[in-house]
Symmetry: C2
Subunit: 259 residues, 2 copies
Amino acid sequence: MSETFEKDRRFASTLARGLSVLRAFRASDDGLSHMEIAERTGLPNATVSRLTFTLRELGYLSHAGKNDRYRLGPAALAIGNVASASVSFLETASDPMQKLANETGTLALFAVRDGEKMLLVKTWRPQNTASIWLEPGHRIPIFGSSSGMAVMACLSDAAFAALEPDDDLRSFRQTGYEQLLARGFAVAPNDTRYAASVNAVSVPFHAGEFGEPASFSCGALPEMLGDARMEEDVGPKLRDAVRALETRTGRSPALLKRG
Amino acid sequence: MSETFEKDRRFASTLARGLSVLRAFRASDDGLSHMEIAERTGLPNATVSRLTFTLRELGYLSHAGKNDRYRLGPAALAIGNVASASVSFLETASDPMQKLANETGTLALFAVRDGEKMLLVKTWRPQNTASIWLEPGHRIPIFGSSSGMAVMACLSDAAFAALEPDDDLRSFRQTGYEQLLARGFAVAPNDTRYAASVNAVSVPFHAGEFGEPASFSCGALPEMLGDARMEEDVGPKLRDAVRALETRTGRSPALLKRG
DNA sequence: AAATTGATTTCCGCATAGTGGAAATGAAGT
DNA sequence: ACTTCATTTCCACTATGCGGAAATCAATTT
């Protein structure tokens, strides 16, 4: 019994389980063993075995040698490339974001909401500074992250209500909204930050391609990126970069979509 | 009944069907309607409906507005990015390949074998020349394509035999092998080319990450890229680019792995 | 507004595909 | 050879997914 909460008749759980196997991979993993997959997904061994067989058969996973670990295969790559090609703004964003990462020495990233979490879709590491940190595929909590704050702030009241938010999340969202109105970027209040080891600024972005608002962020260790620098340096730069992107790709600011 | 031929007890067909829905998307599609998905996958409507519901639920597909078409969603993007991050050579290859595409005015691409077909994983279009053509996610036949020839030539005899090749494919492979030995790149013989409208040269590449040999290619319309130019200009350039890549990423030439 | 057409979703009884505990196999160590 | 740990296979059970058909929903036409 996995953590699936769907019991809708329309929900194909085998498919969901199979995908959860693919989702188990992180960019930093140098392949996963069978058992690691079972642990990460919470699926029983026998099930993982059948699913990996299928995924391998279809090219989504590969098993270099006989007893090697699993890796994402060519088919996964292809889907990703098709997806990126159809999400044109990411390509457009890539250059300025890489530049921003280099200039500010922070990790730039693009994230979307995925259920209860923020899903990191793409990251740009600064080329000089070392900042081994979050990677694509990683999920961070909405509450307490600046990207979560930016995204929540842009949700319409109805969409937000659908999440059945508690009071903390409500006021978290409210703070985000005020910050965005005031200066166009969001920073999670110190006392709510989900990880003490990470400071980040975020700017929401309305990616028509998926229904959800999403966000661009810059993050780094607090030593490198104190509150002052977020407010005065990195925040404004990120905001301007995202505004430029909105102009180039012909979108209106995400906050306006709140409805 | 789709074209699945697996009847192995271990094969999870619901998962395979769900993935075939994702696979139905091409980079050029501006979203797919429900019915287009049904057509492309050969699945009955009701089934597509349940599968898209699930995929939407999980973020692999998105449905911008109420009655909009389906697009690949954030989760698909994320998987792809995880996959690309773990396939480091593609990143390394990106610059030289783009350069090669520009210099030669051809479409450069990277493909892997996926079952009976060659699966285009990534493409680099020349920036000046117009060459709207194959896209990531597209599949082309092995027989008659230069990339197929390059890949077949690098397969070990055992692996090749496992494909149950006919005589045509055997000699196709043999030709490829000889070409690669002689000058390091492969061009499909004129009379076997699978599409008259496409000329291409390929060089195999051993991507340890997936078990399969893969290939880099340059292709264009025959008017732009005659046999002579393939032999004397583009072929050698591509071969040298791939050799340089092998050196940089510390791999031995794919042909040597044939065993 | 009623009628037509066409796409999409829901219904629901049935057969089968998928499940997971347990046992068998396989791979490393000691 | 023995122990331990990872992976695959077996198999009886039943929940799951199937797909034809009917019901909705949307967009046109009359």
